[in-house]
Structures are given as C-alpha cells and as structure tokens.
C-alpha cells in the first residue's frame, strides 16, 4: 500500500490550517472523485476520513493563534487512492486537555484500507490513508 509514498502526487493542496479550509480540501476531493467516477458512498467515506484527519491538524497540530500549514497530497494507483494529510506541528502526542472525544483516528481506521501515522524526511507529521475506489464488489 505504499506505492503512493514515493510517486509524484497527482494532486497537492497546501493552505492555512483553519477550520473553514477543511471544506476546500473536501471540495478538491469531490473534483477528483468526479473524474475517477467514484461511487457516492465510497466518496462519503473518503471525505469523512480526510475531514477527521484535517480537523486533527486544525485542532491539535499548532499552538498559538497563527495557523501553520495544512497539506493534502493524493496519489491515484489504478483503483486505489492514497491521501496524505500533513502538518509541520508538534507531532501526534497524548493530550489530556483535548477538546475532542479522541474518536478521530479510530473512526479513520474503520473507513480506510490502510492507515499509517508517521513523520516524513522534513519531520512533518503525516497521516497516510489508502482507499479502495470501488465498493469491494467484483465487477459483473
């Protein structure tokens, strides 16, 4: 599932990590899904997982008022899609004062084919999600 790791992404988007910009990422994915003719339910799952990952960046990645960067990269490999959500914040760490319920990553894990949390060479935190673009049924 790591074919998308080194490949040049088909789509990259970089914007300030603010709540309203999560919608921009969702719209960009909508455009990608339109071209790839992705099933509505599959797209809903992709958007939900990516929204959770982006929200984690917005809420947890950066301290202070000035937002850092929220980056999204998408690689298409046949009927598999890898989406990477990246930030340059402090990394994924326990947060006792978290405003959330802590359900984001478990929810993502239920929606994806594979999930990896890591840092890239520039020490940016990455959430790498791979999705199957058909709904798992064999074509007739």
């Amino acid at each position: 599932m790591s074919e998308g790791v080194t490949a040049t992404p088909d789509l990259e988007l970089k914007l300030p990590a603010r709540a309203e910009n999560v919608a921009v990422v969702r719209h960009a994915l909508g455009g990608l899904a339109e071209v790839l003719d992705v099933d509505e339910q599959v797209l809903a799952d992709i958007k939900l997982a990516v929204t959770e990952a982006c929200t984690n960046v917005v809420v947890h990645a950066y301290d202070g008022d000035e937002p850092g960067a929220l980056e999204m990269a998408a690689c298409i490999d046949g009927r598999m899609l890898t989406v990477v959500i990246r930030d340059s914040g402090g990394g994924i760490r326990p947060r006792p004062d978290s405003p959330g319920l802590g359900l984001g990553l478990p929810l993502i894990a239920t929606l994806v084919e594979s999930l990896e949390l890591s840092s890239d060479v520039a020490d940016r935190t990455e959430v790498r999600m791979t999705f199957r673009l058909d709904d798992g049924e064999d074509p007739v």
């Binding site: 919608a23 455009g31 071209v35």
Partner: protein, 136 residues
C-alpha cells in the same frame, strides 16, 4: 491594485489532464464564494479556471499545473506557475476562442506576467467583483 486584504489562499499543484479542470474549478469556486463573489461572476471565475486548467500544463516544465488561489475582499486572484520562461504571455494568447475572443482578456480584470527569481515565470490573473469587466 491588490492592496485589499487576503482572506485565505490555497496552493494547488495538479497533474495536467482531466483532474486539473475538475479540482481547480472546485477550489476556485469555494474561494471565490469566500471572497463574496456575486453569483453572476462565478461563471466568469470558472471560465478562467477552465482556461488555465486546459492550457497551463503545456507551458510548465513538468506538465503539472501550479496555481496559488487567493481570496481577497472583493477579488479572487490566481497566480499560475512556475511556467517556462516567456510563456506566460503565450498562455494568455492560447485562450483565444473563435468568435468569442480571448477568454482570459475578456473576463479577468488584470493579467500580469511576472518573473520570480530563478523560479520561473508566473501569470497573475485577477478578478475583482466591484465592477464588471469592460466588454471587448
């Protein structure tokens, strides 16, 4: 010229081909809405993004289209590039449609090719919503 406040910006890099139009159109649409683009000018913004998506790939070094989309108060701006040297003007010229004229020149309020260091050339396309573009 562009002294109005930047509300937000998104830098998009996309492979040339059908993906470019679909994704750039969506991103421009969202950011134009955030810049309070009136509904009758949204089509114009999408015309610009379609023209860029259709042609910019052939003027870039790696066949990928890079666009910085900035939502400002009352305006939306696309910075397209980096493009190969002296090709920003050719990108504008390539948007000529028979019987219609040049889409970019007709719809945009400002088209400004600019060189940014060794990085290459950029084309700034600005659409303001305070006034309608002059017919021409």
């Amino acid at each position: 010229m562009n002294g109005d406040t930047a509300l937000t910006a998104a830098h998009l890099t996309v492979a040339d081909g059908p993906l470019a139009g679909a994704v750039l159109g969506r991103v421009v649409g969202v950011l134009a809405a955030r810049a309070d683009c009136p509904i009758d000018r949204l089509d114009d913004a999408l015309l610009i993004s379609d023209a860029v998506a259709a042609r910019a790939g052939s003027f870039s070094d790696d066949g990928r289209i890079g666009v910085l989309v900035t939502a400002r108060t009352g305006a939306v701006e696309l910075n397209v590039g980096p493009l190969r040297a002296v090709l920003a003007q050719r990108l504008v010229a390539s948007a000529e449609l028979p019987g219609v004229g040049n889409v970019l020149e007709r719809v945009a309020d400002e088209l400004l090719p600019a060189r940014e260091g060794d990085d290459g050339e950029y084309l700034r396309i600005r659409m303001a919503f305070g006034t309608a573009p002059s017919a021409g």
